[in-house]
Symmetry: C2
Amino acid sequence: MLETFIKGIRITEEGLKEELHKNATITTHNKGDFIIKNNQYIKVLKIVLEGKVRVYQENEDREILIYYLNTMETCTLSLSACFEDCKSTVNAIAEEDCTIILNIPVRFVRDWNFKYKSWNRFTINIFRESYLYLIDQYSNLAFQPLKDRLFDYLVSKALSGVVKKSHQELAKELGTTREVISRLLKTLEKNKKIHLGQKQIEIV
Amino acid sequence: MLETFIKGIRITEEGLKEELHKNATITTHNKGDFIIKNNQYIKVLKIVLEGKVRVYQENEDREILIYYLNTMETCTLSLSACFEDCKSTVNAIAEEDCTIILNIPVRFVRDWNFKYKSWNRFTINIFRESYLYLIDQYSNLAFQPLKDRLFDYLVSKALSGVVKKSHQELAKELGTTREVISRLLKTLEKNKKIHLGQKQIEIV
DNA sequence: AGAAAGTTGTGACTTTTGTCACAACAGTCA
DNA sequence: TGACTGTTGTGACAAAAGTCACAACTTTCT
């Protein structure tokens, strides 16, 4: 009854299924709970079974989004930590109530990587996709003005044309401040790109 | 006589050493040669045996450094491409004459990953380190003003206290323009942090 | 030596982003 | 209902980064 595939990788080996059952634990969290804190040792690999988790880095006064984890996704940084003891450099926070996390102690993750082919594929795939995604984000940050990054972000996050977030939240995800976002949104509205509501942005 | 370890990972398996000899080819390049071009299919994993390679992304008019490859390092992006056919999203260019590259066709890289333990460790290690490094670069880009990024960059690149690069080169690596760099360097000089010479910056 | 190419410095200006201060409004809860 | 908290708008200003134009200097090559 536990998942038999993760992120498109089908788990075929019976042994792996068994080991997963035996060694992984499941935890549930409420909105706002910290899943991982900056500077904390990582001891388990976390896979989001249900809900949404925001992974971000913080500065004294600002934050920037690294990625969201949705259903069946896993934190690349904690995967990375499985292969070499290290502390987290990011925070991860539950964005929804009833976020359910599968926790696998790091030593299994490491061993399975050479023992089970499907787990090996899973590991490599996570690294591959995350790395490409991050490079992309990196060059956007380097080359695109904030106005464009904001608009692209809205488009990518819109569910049926609508994003339900406050300006403050958007600022934190894009690594800037609330006033700047408010102003850029106003400009976008003037240019008929979006329509602004209370805690809600509609894309035209 | 070919390398028996790469990036701190010792190759112990005789079979792997043999396969490396049989399937890898060696190429040499001059300063300025393209090793990988943007939008090109990646067919071999490249490991730098000698010399230095600059990997960067470009925009219409600007560039930003992703990383340098030094002796015995490999391009994470081409490693990533070994596991899923894809085009390069970056350029790689030889920074020194006599850059020597080991080329391994992608299918071997993929197969060896589950066949040889040391190769598996190598793969994972590359991904791990590259990912952590990139996250770090990403949040520097997001949070640090250019002035600080410039100074940190100089310190990290200085050999016995000296960086031999033109302002134009620095601009391209930091994703900005020459005039901006010139001015920031002048300010750093005024603040007694560095001493400027022709195509040379001395750190105080 | 002298031309050409590359490098550095800088003033004047624009655009982008960040900061501060304050007002108005919406939603929640006692 | 009225206080409280969170959200949005905006003016005024400051700081950071980018652009354009041009001068002067170095290095390289013939």
